[in-house]
Amino acid sequence: MSYVRNVANVVATLLVGLRVTLREWFSRSITLQYPEQRWELPRGYRGHPVLLSDEEGKTKCTACGLCVRACPTDVITVKGAKGEDGKRVATEWVLDMSRCIQCNLCVEACKFDALAMSDRYELACYRREDLLYDMDTLLELGRGDGVAAITVGDKL
């Protein structure tokens, strides 16, 4: 007899669970039809670092190398030269995206507002070489939307 009661008990509790299922069935669906629909990313989402440019569209980077030293995975390569006005500017700025851990430490290190984080997240590509982002690519991405530089002590 107690066996039958056990089974009845199990069935009863299962039904309690199914009531929830039925309720959810008729409530609004929250599925997002990616890639047709996309979610809104918050400001400051860390996709990967990009370079910011000044009003003339030139890089603000002075090739000081602070970001290179701050990066935990050693993925930044910067080369600079003296520009026409005598100030140093970067001539080469390469980010090896295959090893970047998107930690934001480079952005925090930069004292010239030359770096920011982009909210780009579709980073897949067919060739590993494509993961090396050069200066022009990074400057171009830096002019797009969803770019924010959040450093230590900032208010959001």
Binding site: N6, P42, Y45, P72, N104, V152, G153, D154, K155, L156
Partner: protein, 371 residues
Amino acid sequence: MTSAKQELHREEMVINMGPQHPSTHGVLRAVVTLEGETVRGVDPVIGYLHRCFEKICEQKTWTQVIPYTDRTDYVAALTNELAYVLAVEKLMGLEVPERAQYIRVIMAELQRIASHLLWFGTFGNDLGAFTPFLYAFRERETLIDIFEKTTGARLTYNYIRLGGVRNDLPADFERETLAFLEKLEKGLEEYHNLLIGNAIFEYRTKGLGVLTAEQAVAWGASGPTLRASGVAWDLRKSEPYLVYDRFDFEVPVGQKGDIYDRCICRMKEMEESAKIVRQALEGLPEGDVVGKVPRVIKPPQGQAYAAVEAPRGELGCFVVSDGGIKPYRVKWRSPCFVHLQLLDVIARGELVADFIANIGSIDIILGEVDR
């Protein structure tokens, strides 16, 4: 009948469970000795996720270590950062502004909820109930969105910094968090209806995987695994760090130390964490979020140990400095590593089908065990 007196042929069988078993929460290999269906011994084999974390730390500057700590216990990244940062701050004698301390408490407690939600989902899964997984992830998703807004990342936050936190909370943080906590309350009720109160669940967890208080203490268990055995030891209460002594909360303890008690402890802990977050949000002082930190971080020669109550237990970090820009040594005391050894204690003599429940009940993260 003479044959009845003759001994039946018995033989123990050794099987490998994992390392790619879906129920082992990562890549754990357990060498299980079976006699029929009964477990006679468990020998966990670890190391599949070993990434030389401690050695890598010696190669990085003090700040660069923080993103690496995220990757040990990857479902509770903020607590890892906290343990490391507290240890280094202790060594350097850094002052942390009050607002930053409150934010740290809020984030650590939200992280505990997120981690327990993940545990709840996967544990249901282990027992063959898939639905709770989806429910738990629904709530966790809201929380992860809050983290994403605050820290910029969904899993590896890199948010806590030496001397404070990276940035202040976003404008609608309080509103969203309170809304989440309300949602969580409803969610928890639902979870109880859905899984914890389910008869099958009770049959599969009550009286199984018992860990007595003496055993738990002797093996160095901590966190919910220890408290379920009836030992009220919680670092937030017994050795308060940050500003935990200002909040009013309970430490849930179990009685029997079985799988069921461990589950209930974690469920109640989520409620307590919600309480702490509410109080901290109420008392959140204004001010800076980072204190005065030297430009180049060079802690003086010496060593320091800091421990925090992570979702899984006592997470300790021991750092040694030789006065340079890089740590001389970083040692990680991970609760999961200790708990994994309990498997043999709690699963011995029980059925192999309950072994999965036993693994789930101690809530191990292999990334933290192997690191």
